[in-house]
């Protein structure tokens, strides 16, 4: 938990921004059973965004039912949401592939890590499913770099795993730090967007509210992975700074590209 606090502080420090309550993990406000280790509710939760409407129903139909305060989303808002969905899907795809590639070598030499690896993989698979569903539902195209990320993530996972447990955990730590920060950034823009809409008397709607709570939940789970990695001696990896530095830079590059391409 100390690492989580340090992490949050460092994010805040880097951003020079006042404290926003959304930065606090949601388990502080809502006691959640899912904090119990090795029990994942991710898959169950992943189905939730789907229930509102699954029938293809594009265009004019959405507006027809109620005379509401809702206005069309602006071009900039739709662009932001499309980019966010695209990059999140790519990130979760990479995360599942990293764990798939890491698990056999790690478990072979450290059998006691099997449940932890499985737990983290299951959560990542749930995240990926969530974003796959959201992309299809909201008609957002996936990144064109899909095959490249597939290869890169598998290579990264496998490469760090054969370097040993510490390197594998350093990889997890580096990736989760970047991803956690990335989700926080998205939440900040979403909070800003929602505030603007409320100020101008627009109705925000469940779609965006649900999206925010989904991202908040996933962000918390990523930070949990970060804790697990640190608990498993990620910092002991040699050469730690170089390894995490390279992986973090790679993540930022991949995020930048996936938002655009």
């Amino acid at each position: 938990m100390t690492s989580l606090a340090t992490y949050r502080r460092s994010v805040l420090h880097a951003a020079h921004l006042p404290v926003y309550d959304f930065l606090a993990p949601s388990f502080i406000q809502i006691p959640r059973a899912s904090r119990v280790r090795y029990i994942s509710t991710t898959r169950k939760l992943a189905a939730i965004p789907d229930q509102s409407s699954n029938t293809p129903n594009p265009g004019q139909s959405a507006s027809s039912n109620a005379p509401s305060l809702k206005k069309p989303l602006t071009q900039a808002q739709r662009e932001f949401l499309s980019q966010a969905f695209r990059v999140n899907q790519a990130g979760e795809l990479a995360a599942t592939l990293i764990y798939i590639a890491q698990t056999p070598p790690i478990v072979a030499s450290h059998p006691h890590l099997r449940p932890l690896m499985k737990h983290m993989y299951d959560q990542e698979a749930g995240h990926l499913e969530t974003f796959n569903t959201l992309l299809a539902k909201h008609r957002v195209r996936p990144t064109a770099m899909y095959p490249i990320w597939t290869i890169a993530a598998s290579a990264l996972g496998w490469g760090t795993a054969i370097m040993g447990r510490e390197a594998a955990m350093a990889c997890t730590e580096a990736v989760e730090t970047e991803i956690g920060g990335h989700y926080n950034e998205q939440l900040r823009v979403l909070v800003d967007m929602v505030e603007q809409m409320e100020e101008s008397g627009e109705e925000v709607g469940n779609e965006l509210k649900e999206l925010m709570s989904t991202i908040r939940r996933i962000r918390d789970e990523e930070l949990e992975h970060l804790d697990h990695a640190v608990e498993n001696e990620a910092k002991q990896a040699q050469p730690y700074e170089l390894l995490t530095g390279i992986i973090k830079a790679g993540c930022r590059g991949a995020i930048w590209i996936s938002e655009r391409v």
Binding site: P72, Q75, E79, S109, R139, R141, P142, Y146, P147, E207
Partner: protein
Amino acid sequence: MASKIRTLRLRPLNAKPCNRLYHSYEHPPPPGPFNAAETSILTAALPHIPSHGFTHTSLARGAKDAGYIDASTNLFPSGAFSLVHYHLYTQRMALARHKHILEASAADGKPLGVGAKVKALTWERLMGNKEIIHRWQEALALLAQPSNVPTSVSELASLSDEIWFLAGDTSVDTSWYTKRASLSTIYAATELFMTTDKSTDFADTKEFLNRRFTDSQVVGGAVRSVGEWVGFTAHAGLNVLRSKGVRI
């Protein structure tokens, strides 16, 4: 990260007309490419196309019918091409109303599969050109003009996207691209074929279309994404090494 918020706020809202962005189910859709005046003139112009073609004459008659003075055709800087664009746009939007396909069931009572819906919707779209097919080569000439190419390409891509979406396809991997590219190619080729088809009820066009679908295997066939293939190959390779006792 602060810069992101700033760009979100500062970016001009009408930077570029780009469809295929986040589709909301709660917020009304963003305005289409045509405003109210343009829509009423273009709608009135459509019935004149079979006799006057995709021309300024049809546009002028539409303006007159809609109660505008003749000069209101100045509203359309791209001239007759606006008629082509409007035809493509309205025909694309009309696909969502084909409930008999979207909610249909096959002979055995099961709902139609994605592939069957893609085929049926593609055919419906082609039939949207039935009344104006003898004029369509004029439209193709306009679509191919360099200044109009971005709109032409974007409309074709939007059509493919619409068909796959309506058919209920939910793939969001590399096949998202291959599916849309294949369907765009098939549609464009069949549309061109249809302009020279003299058979009754466009039977030859239908056969041509079915053959394109069979050749490409884009529906119901074995479309494998590159990523899937690479992943499978790498995985198989690792397993072979593991079976040989290599600890990786």
